[in-house]
């Protein structure tokens, strides 16, 4: 064994080596092919952009749609890429002008076809296009896309639905907006900007009926959109939520002085993150009575609570840095003193 080339073991190893060599050659060929294709495609796209960008820019700046050249089917994807890029870069009337050009070139039809039978990249492009075009005919197909597991396709389909009909879109999507953790809140806030009133309407109407586990995300979304939830809803959530996460989020978002008596109770909460948010709230809405409680917070075992308490004191209109300096002068606790110095330095006030 292992002494002749006809040995099955050696033959096996030889075959593996041979397969590796053949695959290597194949991969090299694929690499060269990919590079050639890329070059060709880049050249074609550059030439397309050179021709079409000025036309689209002209259509944006003039009152009427200019004479448009023929758009070959082979260039449709290039066009949609350029068109979507401009759509995302511009605002207002420019978007409408671009829509007119796209409809003239029957891009709505092309996008619907891509949505139906394109590959994933083409489907994403189609969803984006249909969102900008607010294409009502694609409603059902977009609902299907919004329900898919694909995070990117689904969130953009949700955006399209909201663009097409803000009221119906938010109503339909509210459960998903709150449940789908893979839909990034910052991105949703961008999408929901045009439908924030509709969203606020649905959210404030339903928030107390929905599962408590959805409250955190509901408040985060409202916060991202700078929407104020009704006072009684906020009060109810703070009093009845089961999770610390929700409580922290709710206290951070709480923006009504009427919640002051309720929030005061949380300054001594067992979880330091809650104490931090309670201190922050007292800094925004607290009165002289709260300043005393915040001074006690300067001796908290948690750095972040001490910091929040000092910041809250510094931000109180009737307290501020002058009072903080006075407080520093009579503070004996080293930890509190260090935090006061820290915050005073942040406010660029030097203790004499």
């Amino acid at each position: 064994m292992f002494n002749t080339f006809s040995d099955p073991y050696i033959q096996f190893a030889f075959n593996i080596g041979l397969a590796a060599a053949a695959l290597t050659l194949l991969l090299v060929a694929v690499i060269i092919h990919l590079r050639l294709n890329l070059r060709k495609s880049q050249r074609l796209e550059e030439a397309f952009i050179d021709l079409w960008r000025p036309i689209l820019m002209q259509s944006i700046s003039s009152n009427s749609t200019p004479q448009l050249p023929q758009l070959p089917a082979s260039s449709q994807v290039y066009f949609l890429k350029l068109w979507n890029y401009l759509q995302e870069s511009l605002r207002g009337i420019a978007n409408e002008r671009l829509n007119e050009v796209a409809l003239e070139l029957r891009c709505d039809v092309a996008a619907r076809a891509l949505l139906k039978s394109g590959n994933r990249a083409e489907r994403l492009l189609a969803i984006l296009t249909l969102a900008h075009l607010r294409d009502k005919k694609s409603w059902d197909a977009l609902v299907v896309q919004a329900n898919r597991d694909d995070s990117l396709a689904s969130i953009h389909a949700a955006r399209a639905l909201i663009n097409i009909d803000p009221l119906e879109g938010t109503s339909l999507l509210l459960p998903m907006l709150l449940q789908r953790q893979d839909w990034d809140v910052a991105q949703l806030a961008n999408f929901l900007g045009s439908a924030e009133q509709a969203f606020w309407l649905h959210l404030s109407k339903n928030i107390l009926q929905m599962d408590k586990s959805l409250w955190t995300r509901a408040i985060q979304l409202a916060d991202a959109l700078n929407l104020q939830l009704p006072l009684q809803s906020m009060r109810y959530i703070i009093e009845h939520c089961d999770s610390t996460e929700t409580l922290v989020t709710a206290l951070r978002k709480a923006g009504e002085p009427a919640l002051l008596p309720l929030v005061r109770n949380y300054l001594n909460h067992a979880d330091w993150r809650v104490r931090v948010e309670a201190a922050g709230f007292l800094g925004r809405f607290g009165d002289t009575e709260d300043a005393e409680a915040l001074m006690a917070g300067l001796e908290d075992s948690q750095w972040w609570v001490r910091y929040a308490a000092a910041q809250a004191l510094a931000s109180m209109p009737f307290f501020g840095t002058a009072q903080l300096l006075a407080l520093r002068a009579r503070t004996l606790n080293g930890t509190s003193l260090a935090m006061l110095d820290h915050v005073l330095a942040e406010h660029q006030v030097r203790p004499s």
């Binding site: 292992f2 593996i16 990249a121 910052a186 330095a345």
Partner: protein, 470 residues
């Protein structure tokens, strides 16, 4: 050979089987990476659209440990201010530099002492002072006694204000959108605890004021070999493991972590060489033991460029240290190996690391020596000897070429045909000597770990930029 199986047969069969298993695993990782890159390619259109920042992105503290970096620190920090991200702070940790790093920082960024309230989190060497920039409100400098990179990072974590922190080497060159890219997984998955991005070799690239201007290839042959190594290590090594949520390494040159999770894990361990890998393995172990759902993800986009060693001695020392770091990371987290709750990290990645990366040098070099010995003493025929080399080198070249393919289907950072031609030659050439040399250095690293021989941080001969894949 009519009786039972001989030792020679057994050893030969074992070596064949090992090489096939090793390369089979790599090919599987490669396939996983192809699928991941394909998906990422499909999303490129949307990624390339203008980004709108709402200020809702989680804040990031960039931690920059600096030891004797007076020549590079200013350009590095200035380039970090160019990062496109809504909310970040930069914390430079001067780790008892013997040169004028602190003076340079003070002069260039108008630093003034800041009476920071001490935050007792992770244990570190004593802090000598904290400074704040009068020009840049989001720049702070911590001056501390020398304690090493891990100790510096811990000091930075203690001072970090944001829920995420990013450890960066002082001489790394970051892509302008690097933070945007590595933070994305955190925004999609609340259970994300760490992300890492691709690190590329900066040698041969045009760098001005700490920013990468033009991508190129180095003329130095050692650096060229490393270009191919980095492609392989990042594009199919880490991306493949990431798909299985079993990535055990995030490069110290650039990685983003959830601050509270790292504090809960105890921060960086300062008595290990491979503190970056050790931390990631420990996080896996801790969260697996707790049964906490989590994710650690790799972002394939090139986010960080680093200077690779260009001389034999520095490269050798670096590789020896890496192997020691790997040994320490695995041995100190042995509880993850095949543990009940280990999941893919404990049942796939950890055993893979143990058998193929940690003990690999023993088997690989043992295989080469055994074959030479067996051939010299007539235990195997010349055909068997040649076939063994043909298979081992053939599979090595295949893997290197596949790294190049992944680069070509994804980022094609090397734009010229000449680059492609040079890289194609290098992927073949590195299999004739360089890889074997690397294996030898890893074996030395393993020996030094076993013998507990200290291997001091070698001085890296730099031209301006620097760090590592593993």
């Amino acid at each position: 050979m009519s009786g039972g199986i001989t030792f020679t047969e057994l050893a030969t069969w074992f070596i064949f089987a090992y090489f096939i298993l090793l390369n089979g695993s790599y090919i599987t990782l490669n396939l996983l990476s192809i699928f991941a890159l394909q998906k990422s390619n499909e999303e490129k259109l949307l990624e390339s659209l203008p980004q709108v920042f709402k200020g809702l992105e989680p804040g990031i503290s960039i931690l920059v440990p600096a030891y004797n970096e007076e020549t590079t620190i200013t350009a590095s920090i200035r380039s970090m201010f160019q990062l496109t991200y809504s909310e970040f702070e930069i914390i430079v940790i001067n780790d008892g530099s013997k040169d004028k790093t602190l003076e340079v920082l003070t002069r260039e960024f108008a630093l003034l002492p800041f009476p920071a309230a001490p935050r007792l989190g992770l244990e570190t060497k004593p802090i000598r002072g904290v400074y704040r920039s009068m020009q840049y409100p989001n720049l702070r400098v911590i001056d501390k006694q020398n304690g090493g990179k891990a100790d510096s990072l811990n000091a930075g974590i203690n001072a970090a204000r944001h829920p995420l922190f990013c450890g960066v080497d002082a001489d790394s060159i970051l892509a302008r959108d690097s933070l945007q890219l590595v933070v994305k997984p955190f925004m999609k998955h609340p259970e994300m605890v760490a992300t890492g991005g691709t690190v590329r070799v900066a040698n041969g690239c045009q760098v001005t004021d700490g920013s990468l201007i033009k991508v190129g290839l180095p003329s130095n042959v050692w650096a060229l070999f490393q270009v191919v190594e980095y492609l392989r290590a990042f594009l199919f090594g880490r991306l493949g493991w990431s798909k299985l949520n079993a990535m055990l390494i995030i490069s110290g040159a650039f990685g983003l972590f959830k601050t509270d999770v790292v504090i809960a894990a105890g921060g960086y361990r300062s008595n290990t060489i491979g503190e970056d890998m050790e931390l990631v393995v420990r996080i896996h172990r801790m969260l697996r033991e707790q049964g906490t759902p989590y994710r650690i993800e790799f972002v394939p986009e090139p986010v960080c460029w680093t200077e690779a060693p260009e001389d034999f001695k520095t490269l050798k020392n670096q590789r020896i240290r890496w192997q020691r770091g790997l040994s320490e990371s695995l041995s100190s987290n042995w509880g993850l190996m095949l543990s009940r709750r280990g999941g893919p990290p404990g049942w796939l990645a950890f055993p893979f690391m143990v058998f193929f990366e940690w003990l690999g040098p023993v088997v690989e070099l043992g295989g080469y020596f055994f074959m030479i010995y067996a051939y010299a003493f007539g235990l195997i025929s010349w055909q068997a000897f040649v076939v063994f080399l043909f298979m081992a080198i053939g599979l090595g070249i295949l893997l290197s070429v596949s790294g190049l393919l992944l680069e070509e289907i994804s980022f094609h950072m090397y734009p010229k045909f000449r680059h492609l031609a040079v890289l194609s030659l290098v992927v073949v050439a590195e299999n004739f000597g360089y890889r074997q040399l690397n294996t030898w250095w890893r074996l030395v690293g393993l020996y030094r770990w076993v013998a507990q021989r200290e291997s001091a941080w070698g001085e890296m001969k730099r031209k301006g930029v620097g760090s590592k894949p593993k």
